[in-house]
């Protein structure tokens, strides 16, 4: 099972022949893949689609997202909402400042911060000369009070403090003299490292949001993120624990192992927005996909799974908790 990324800019046409998805451009077939092998479609360039293939993607619930080449998420083609109204009802009943939502928010924040801490501690073991102690201490101070805090706003504060501590020492994790990281800059990212992080988070959002949709949630009602028009808060909530595990780890890997060099970045003159070149984008997408398909042992299910599967597993675990089939939501924390 794999994801298709379309970066072809002009004239590409996505169609269907038999039970296959085909991509054509300038009368040449660029891709001809059985639909049963596809579990996602990301369009980063431009593409026309035949009505047939749209119908087929909806029927098979294959998520399709539109993302700009710089990584801004534009939207998605959404299949019919799952018929599982009970899970959505449970989701809505838990909205606001309830016992259930507080428990979930604790889970999201704890998952994210603990994964941050493990990432820093692993670096400290590998490179003892780095000065990461202050950051790790601050992170621990943010993690400790999580269990005792029972207000969502305070939990948001702890999350902010933890993230700030982590990004405060992010520059030290970069072992490549060609790259520097000062602080997290978004909309638009103005340096290579930030642009990689932003692009990675956008791709991650495509995957987590599709998992949330497949399980049957309403992606716009979240607990950690404030409700805002058009913001898929639940997908963003569930994304938190995956950020360090997938995106940060792979961005650091790409930079430290020199898989991406400064030549692979373009800078726009007025906005200073930095983005990847076509070549760079190709490398980055491949790395992201490899990361997603890599296997690990799930600490709760005690079996091997890929990160791609873990998105849905975590969404289902959240569903089980909301339906009160389990008494805890276990965020994915990996050592």
């Amino acid at each position: 099972m794999g994801t298709i990324y379309i970066t072809q800019e002009y004239n590409s046409f996505i169609g269907k022949s038999d039970e296959r998805l085909t991509v054509k451009a300038n009368k040449k077939t660029l891709l001809d893949i059985p639909l049963i092998k596809i579990d996602g479609l990301v369009i980063m360039g431009q593409a026309t689609m035949s009505p047939d293939i749209i119908k087929e993607l909806l029927d098979r619930k294959i998520p399709l997202s539109f993302v700009t080449a710089t990584g801004k998420y534009r939207g998605c083609l959404q299949p019919e909402l799952s018929k599982n109204i009970l899970i959505r009802k449970a989701q809505w009943l838990a909205a606001g400042e309830t016992e259930i939502s507080i428990h979930l928010v604790k889970g999201f924040v704890r998952g994210k911060l603990k994964n941050y801490r493990h990432l820093l501690m692993r670096r400290r073991r590998e490179y003892p000369e780095l000065n990461l102690d202050a950051g790790i201490n601050k992170l621990e101070q943010a993690i400790l009070p999580i269990d005792l805090t029972n207000k969502i706003d305070s939990l948001r504060g702890l999350e902010g403090a933890g993230s700030a501590a982590y990004f405060g020492c992010f520059n030290q994790l970069i072992q490549n003299p060609n790259f520097k990281f000062k602080s997290r800059v978004r909309r638009p990212p103005t340096d290579p490292v930030n642009s990689l992080l932003s692009l990675g988070y956008s791709l991650l959002r495509h995957d987590v949001q599709s998992a949330v949709n497949i399980v049957g949630f309403d992606p716009y009602l979240g607990y950690l993120h404030y409700q805002r028009y058009g913001r898929p808060s639940l997908a963003l909530d569930l994304m938190e624990e995956f950020r360090p595990l997938i995106v940060d780890a792979m961005v650091l890997n790409a930079i430290n192992k020199n898989l991406l060099t400064p030549n692979e970045f373009n800078s726009e003159p007025i906005s200073n927005a930095v983005s990847l070149t076509k070549e760079g984008l190709k490398i980055f997408l491949r790395l992201y996909e490899q990361k997603k398909q890599s296997k690990f042992k799930h600490p709760v299910l005690k079996r091997q799974c890929t990160y791609q599967e873990a998105f849905e597993i975590q969404a289902r675990l959240m569903g089980k908790y909301l339906m009160q089939e389990t008494d805890k939501y276990p965020p994915l924390i990996l050592k």
């Binding site: 298709i4 990324y5 970066t7 022949s17 038999d18 001809d32 190709k282 491949r286 996909e289």
Partner: protein
């Protein structure tokens, strides 16, 4: 399950149809030979689709199943490269 499908079809039009259906379930490796990695449902669907089209008097299709440890024993000299199903990039 990993299935190797080989076919012998006498008529061109029918053979093209069979080829097209098999392409939707696996990868074409050689003339009249496909390799498919399928779930049980997918296999059942494929089989029933093929069954509807062939003329059992003149045509034949054979399915060979490879067990897990035999899948790694496939060797290749020249010919089609095995497709990587985890990542597709269109540029």
């Amino acid at each position: 399950m990993f299935v190797i499908v080989s076919y012998d079809i006498s008529e061109d039009k029918r053979r093209n149809k069979i080829h097209s259906i098999l392409s939707s379930y696996g990868q074409w490796m050689q003339y009249s030979l496909f390799e498919c990695n399928l779930s049980k449902t997918e296999y059942a669907k494929l089989r029933s689709r093929l069954n509807k089209i062939i003329d059992s008097q003149t045509d034949s299709i054979r399915f060979y199943f490879l067990c897990g440890c035999c899948q790694n024993k496939i060797e290749r000299i020249g010919g089609e490269v095995v497709r990587d199903d985890t990542f597709f990039l269109v540029e």
